[in-house]
């Protein structure tokens, strides 16, 4: 039946204009959704004009437009001006959603704008909610799914256009304790309702575009999913972009490239000047340098992660080999599994307490780099163990049989067949784990961290710290026993010291800018570890597959 009607709609004369309006409404909804996103992240300010018109008014006008558009679509479909295949009803789910929405709007308008006190708001809320539910559920699908959405958009747009929600407006729901009342400002409410209305109208007009019915629901769901995915991706990129925009200019202060501009370094007794000068990354923070920098924290974080990985990965992979290859599947392995899962979800400050009470007394009694490394290593252990074990269990038994049938011993089979096949999985575990520990603040705070803003001279020199001596243990490393800074800890210290503080009197930036630049560098360091991990995994995968 639906095939016949859709064949009819192909030859129907009025279809083209209808489809154009529907398509335009979808496109406008998407545009509005994007505008709402940018407004939410304050890339555009609501009072700024777009082409001479205040942004609020533009948003309001567009909302009214798409509202009218979508209602028009629904009405022309229900008047049978064009061939569509609507169901008898938009369905209970849509009914409940629209009913709930309009119930809330009725309540807010009655209580907040009309000022009906006590329980006076309930009646209008019930009336509106019930009405919307009835319209959605008991009319044909073309009316039921377009009109409630369209009216909502027109209402919101009208409110923006008439200036009821001016810049000075705010709304505090009365039910909260008066002192610290929750207050909503237009900068949140306007983008929020724009996003919401554009989602609804986009969905409804997508249904209309496909002529309602099964095809309509399909397209409507698609538009919803795409807009939602768009929103999530926008949030992710927005967050990263935000940090970059706020932090990068400070981080790149006075970078210079050219022969001999950089600080002097000596490698193998040869001393020369680096061809790059990057003060923010190459200086510590002290009164002797003009551009204060975060070198000690960067070096501290890198060594911290390297140390934790070097400590945890061999142990974890070894344990995983035992669990996956040697231990019988049974009560013991399931206990270990529960324990490792539990360890992985243990709050990091608990690991910090362990480090502070158990490790620090054993490593010289004061906070030290090695205590931090081991603490984070213990945090990393369970995840690498879990993922490595899974990866090894996923290696097909055929490989083991084939190897055994060639007379190769179990250990050699594990080393040359099972482990290589499981490596990508192991690396995935390391990537995820490093992503978590590199940004940890709490355990570092109690096991490793030194001064708030260390000077360049306090940079740990792990490689240079090795000293060889004639008596056991033959090698010592003073640097590992020093306290050190790390990027997340330094950010924490900056925030607690007060971002308005006059810490950088002679520097070309404020404490707040310094903190954003610190965050930017932290993000970059973590992402670089990711990049290294993903490249390694890609390399091992390729080796397995080609």
């Amino acid at each position: 039946m639906s095939t016949i009607t859709s064949r009819n709609s192909l030859v129907n004369g009025g279809t083209n204009r209808y489809e154009f309006v529907a398509g335009a409404t979808i496109a406008l909804s998407a545009l509005l959704f994007a505008l709402g996103m940018t407004a939410l992240f304050e890339f555009v300010t609501l009072t700024d004009p777009i082409a001479g018109v205040p942004t609020v008014s533009v948003l309001g006008g567009l909302l009214v437009l798409i509202g009218i558009g979508v209602i028009g679509l629904g009405v022309s479909s229900s008047l049978e001006l064009i061939e569509t295949t609507p169901d008898r009803s938009a369905g209970l789910v849509a009914g409940v959603v629209f009913g709930g929405l309009w119930f809330g709007i009725g309540g807010i308008v009655a209580a907040g704008i009309l000022g009906l006190g006590g329980a006076g708001w309930i009646l209008p809320a019930l009336l509106l909610g019930g009405g919307a539910f009835a319209v959605t559920t008991f009319t044909r699908e073309d009316i039921g799914s377009t009109v409630p959405a369209g009216v909502l958009a027109i209402l919101a747009g009208g409110v923006f256009l008439t200036g009821v929600l001016g810049p000075g407006w705010s709304y505090s729901p009365g039910s909260f304790p008066s002192d610290n009342a929750v207050t909503f400002f237009p900068s949140v409410i306007v983008p929020g309702s724009v996003l919401f209305c554009s989602l609804l109208v986009g969905w409804a007009s997508a249904k209309a575009y496909a002529g309602f019915g099964a095809r309509g629901r399909h397209l409507g769901a698609h538009v919803l999913i795409y807009l939602n995915a768009l929103g999530i991706i926008a949030v992710l990129f927005g967050l990263v972009g935000f940090v970059v925009i706020k932090g990068a200019p400070t981080a790149f202060t006075e970078v210079a490239i050219g022969p001999g501009v950089g600080p002097e370094v000596s490698v193998l007794g040869l001393s020369f000047s680096l061809p790059v000068s990057w003060p923010f990354l190459m200086n510590g923070a002290s009164v002797f340098v003009r551009v204060d920098g975060i070198l000690p924290a960067v070096v501290g974080t890198v060594w911290l992660v390297v140390g934790a990985v070097l400590f945890a990965v061999p142990i974890a992979v070894g344990a995983a080999v035992f669990l996956a290859e040697y231990a019988d599947e049974g009560r013991f392995t399931s206990v270990v599994e529960v324990a490792t899962n539990g360890l992985w979800s243990t709050p990091s400050i608990v690991f910090g307490l362990f480090g502070a009470s158990f490790l620090i007394p054993r490593f010289g009694g004061s906070k030290s780099l090695i205590a931090g490394m081991l603490t984070l290593g213990f945090m990393l252990l369970p995840l690498v163990l879990i993922t490595s074990r899974e990866a090894m269990l996923a290696v097909p038994d055929e490989y083991r049989d084939a190897s055994a049938a060639l007379g190769v011993s179990k250990w050699q089979t594990i080393r040359s067949v099972v482990l290589p096949a499981a490596l990508p999985g192991v690396v995935t575990g390391i990537i995820l784990g490093v992503g978590r520990i590199a940004g940890e603040t709490a355990p570092i705070l109690v096991t490793m961290a030194g001064g708030t803003l260390p000077a360049g001279g306090e940079t740990v020199d792990v490689i240079g710290g090795f000293e060889f001596i004639a008596t056991p243990p033959f090698v010592t490393n003073e640097a590992l026993l020093q306290a050190s800074s790390a990027l997340p800890y330094q950010l924490y210290a900056l925030i607690t010291a007060g971002l308005g503080g006059p810490q950088f009197e002679d520097a070309p930036f404020t404490a707040l800018e310094f903190a954003w630049a610190n965050a930017f560098v932290l993000l970059t360091v973590v992402l670089s570890f990711y990049a290294i991990g993903i490249t390694t995994r890609y390399y091992f995968r390729r080796k397995l597959n080609r």
Binding site: E398, D401, S403, A404, A405, L406, S409, Q412, P420
Partner: protein, 320 residues
């Protein structure tokens, strides 16, 4: 076999629990076949002389009163068979009659199955392999195996073939050896080439020995597995339905290859394909449901004039 640990016992009892319906069914079928045949016929079902195959050459593999249990499941019952050297022996029989189990007894791959318990004796080259102190590495070097599904390692073609010899230290390509100038990459290449040529694969892959073996077709993978088994220089080659996943052309390549191999190797092959068994084997052993070896003789004799009525029915497709 070693003492089972407590955990082993739990898993075993669990597996028997879950297998219970099946094992009851097997028991039921067994008792049904026992009742449905008359006493005279069931006497006739198994006769010593049907499996008492006389041949001229020397015996390479000899099984004597071999019984295999998987938990409560008695999979192989009192198998005695002598397999002549440098020939092709086909094992045929309906699904689940224990052909693979028997094959795995010859290179002790059953050791890897926890539930399996083997009683009786198997001799390879006149040496009992089910005694203490048997070197499994040496045994499996002498008795190679090719599985039903091609199972190359996710490594390059070259590494797949040289895997066995390398792990056994027969060719040295390790870093230390290379540094000491003892590296034998030429020897490795030569060995790889020889094994691939034996397995009739070399011409197809000679220009991409470094490519991953998983990129080969199914038939090529199976021949690669044969090459991999040949590279450790075995005397006996066990093949468990090596052509079951292959198209007719690849199958005929593998059949030709088996015929070639039988000049140097003792080949024992399981197959479900009667024509294949008739084409390539010198002698055929017929296993029937219940894990009995019913008849064992020259292939021509088995296919043209079997002694047992049940074997004749099976071969002519009337049951099984």
């Amino acid at each position: 076999m070693s003492e089972p640990s407590p955990t082993t016992e739990t898993t075993e009892s669990e597996s028997t629990d879950t297998n219970d319906p099946t094992s009851t069914r097997t028991a039921a079928t067994a008792s049904m076949s026992g009742t449905s045949t008359t006493t005279g016929e069931s006497e006739e079902e198994l006769r010593e002389e049907w499996t008492d195959y006389q041949f001229a050459g020397e015996t390479h593999v000899a099984a004597e009163n071999l019984d295999v249990h998987y938990g409560d499941d008695h999979a192989l019952k009192d198998i005695s068979i002598d397999i002549p050297s440098e020939s092709v022996t086909a094992l045929i029989g309906p699904s689940g009659c224990g052909k693979s189990t028997f094959l795995r007894c010859i290179n002790r791959m059953n050791d890897r199955i926890r539930a399996a318990e083997v009683d009786g004796s198997v001799e390879v080259d006149g040496v009992e392999i089910y005694q203490d102190g048997v070197d499994l590495v040496e045994l499996r070097k002498r008795v190679g195996m090719v599985f039903q599904q091609p199972n190359p390692f996710p490594k390059s073609i070259r590494d797949n073939v040289s895997y066995g010899p390398r792990k056994h230290g027969d060719i040295r390509t390790g870093l230390i050896d290379r540094l000491l100038g003892r590296g034998e990459s030429d020897a490795e290449l030569e060995l790889v080439e020889r094994a691939l040529k034996r397995a009739a694969l070399y011409d197809e892959v000679s220009d991409r020995l470094g490519d991953n073996a998983l990129g080969l077709s199914g038939g090529q993978q199976q021949r690669l597995c044969i090459a991999r088994a040949l590279a450790t220089d075995p005397d006996v080659l066990l093949m468990d339905e090596p052509a079951s996943a292959l198209d007719p052309i690849a199958t005929s390549k593998i059949e030709d290859l088996i015929t070639d191999l039988s000049e140097e190797y003792t080949v024992v092959i399981v197959t479900h394909n009667m024509q294949q068994a008739a084409r390539i084997s010198d002698q055929t052993a017929v296993f029937l449901t219940g894990g009995h070896l019913v008849e064992y003789d020259d292939t021509d004799k088995i296919f043209e004039n079997p002694e047992s009525q049940r074997v004749e029915d099976y071969i002519s497709g009337r049951f099984g």
